[in-house]
Amino acid sequence: MQLSRRGFFKVAGAAGAGVAASTRPAEAWQSRAPADPQGCLVDLTRCIGCRKCEQGCQTVNRLPAPEQPFDDLTVLDKKRRPDERTYTVINRYYPGRRDERDQLVPTFVKVQCMHCQDPACASACIVGALTKKENGAVHYDVTKCIGCRYCMVACPFEIPAYEYRDPITPRVMKCTFCYERVEKEGKRPGCAEICPVEAITFGRRSTLLKIARNRIKSNPASYVDRVYGEHEAGGTSWLYLSGVPFDRVGFIDVPHRPLTQLAESIQSSLFSYMWSPIVLFGMLSGVMWAFRNKGDRDTREKGGQP
């Protein structure tokens, strides 16, 4: 059989249309965020930069001791990031405000995993080593991790770190939200518990948002009217209040929709009811069917005219 170009598209189109018609349109993306997780509210106007949270974190999580002791505040002279040896760091910024003695007033910012409501790292993880727990923690299961480090690429806050220097059993390291401690022992995260000025308030996210709104309302001169983490990246379990605009103290602008939404909707719409593979293989089989006689024709032609 001789297949014209038009004939081929007819066959392939019919196959594709048939499969597409049999599937319904992909369901709308749904957030899998826990309803009322626990969280922490960091009030930057309260933080005094004492680094006790770093110390509490190191003690509670049995992390390696730092090179410089925790009461050495000269480490604040340069900006740091959480790494594979530290889950949380304090950075000092001078946003420009001066006190009555004409001294620049510092603002201290605690940096750690934000524990997103819809974490991009967990969405990117291909083995489910990272999961969002009911209590708000983005939990890392080292036994499942294969070390692909997609989470590090996916995280908008660039938090997960990797133990590159450990060649045998490297782990992804990031703030655990003291998962075991909070969930099983009923305690507070190490940093929140040790903070001498309650710059970190621990509680239910809904309560924290209420507290934050209340603080802004009762003291509007001291705060900017924004709770960082309320909408950022679709909402995070860690929330921040600041007295200075957030972009001046190292906070990045993150889209207000969950970062997982776009990627997951594309992926789920492509693979719902396996329609895309069915179409693909349908088309391929159409091609094969259309060309099924090509070889025969060659032999027939050869046979016909010896």
Binding site: P69, E198, G203, T207, I211
Partner: protein
């Protein structure tokens, strides 16, 4: 010789007479006592007698006891503005004369439940009150209960942090720190750093120090430096390490030698 002996005897009798007059017993030791004293001198002298319980300051002890007391939690406080509170307190006539405890040791078990990094703060209640002359600065709210006293301790309202029934109420530790540090900063008076108010609790070094049975002096120094590296580096810049000076005993000062640890002394490790 005889003259000198008679003089000595006369002196002794005079001393004995004076001793008898003022009631001094045993001014001249008897021969047996003298022997006993000579024997005792050879032994290591016994340390001075100390009483079984060392002396303690009564107010410090009282403050320690007071710090351990538990005060029932005040659920509700009266809502009023700071100025209203100040004026109302002034009208009631409450003042320094009403202070019952002039000294507090801020050593509540509520704080120690979660951590124990620093020693207690010694808070001079009367001194603060007499300088500020305004009770409302610290006693900023009163319990809603009409029968309660006008002013209460900090730990009556501020106890555990992050109470789910009182999410806005500060814990005791944060209340202390925010109140004290905030005021000290504002008044530009009083310490605002950790060690200004309380001493650090030094961890028990029994477990931390790891030394062999009979360590060499250098091993001891090495072990200290294992953790206190910066202290070692600081030491190298002190006068204890860098002292030197001219040696005045060099013969005729012909060779001027700057002698000292920084130059020629041998016990440099």
């Amino acid at each position: 010789m005889t003259k000198r002996l008679s003089l000595a005897i006369a002196l002794l009798t005079a001393i004995a007479a004076i001793g008898g007059l003022i009631g001094f017993q045993g001014g001249v030791p008897s021969p047996s006592e003298a022997v006993a004293a000579a024997e005792g001198a050879e032994k290591i002298p016994a340390p001075p007698q100390t009483s079984a319980t060392p002396w303690t300051a009564p107010d410090q002890e009282a403050a320690k006891k007071r710090a351990q007391e538990f005060v029932p939690f005040v659920e509700a406080v009266m809502e009023e503005c700071d100025l209203c509170r100040q004026m109302r307190l002034r009208e009631t006539g409450l003042g320094i004369k009403d202070i019952t405890n002039s000294y507090f040791l801020l050593d509540s078990p509520i704080i120690k439940k979660t951590e124990d990094l620093y020693g207690p703060v010694r808070f001079k209640h009367s001194k603060h009150a007499s300088q500020l002359k305004d009770c409302a600065l610290c006693h900023h709210r009163r319990p809603l209960d009409a029968k309660a006293k006008e002013t209460t301790r900090c730990s009556a309202c501020h106890q555990e942090a992050f109470r789910s029934d009182q999410p806005e109420r500060l814990g005791l530790k944060a209340a202390f720190h925010q109140q004290c540090t905030g005021c000290h900063q504002e008044m530009q008076k009083g310490p605002t750093d950790c060690l200004g108010c309380h001493r650090k609790n030094v961890p028990d070094h029994k477990e931390l120090v790891k030394l062999p049975e009979k360590p060499e002096p250098t091993q001891v120094t090495q072990e200290c430096l294992r953790c206190h590296k910066a202290a070692g580096e600081d030491m190298l810049k002190t006068a204890h390490w860098l002292w030197k000076g001219p040696s005045p005993y060099t013969l005729n000062r012909s060779k001027h030698v700057e002698h000292g640890k920084a130059t020629s002394a041998v016990n440099n490790f």
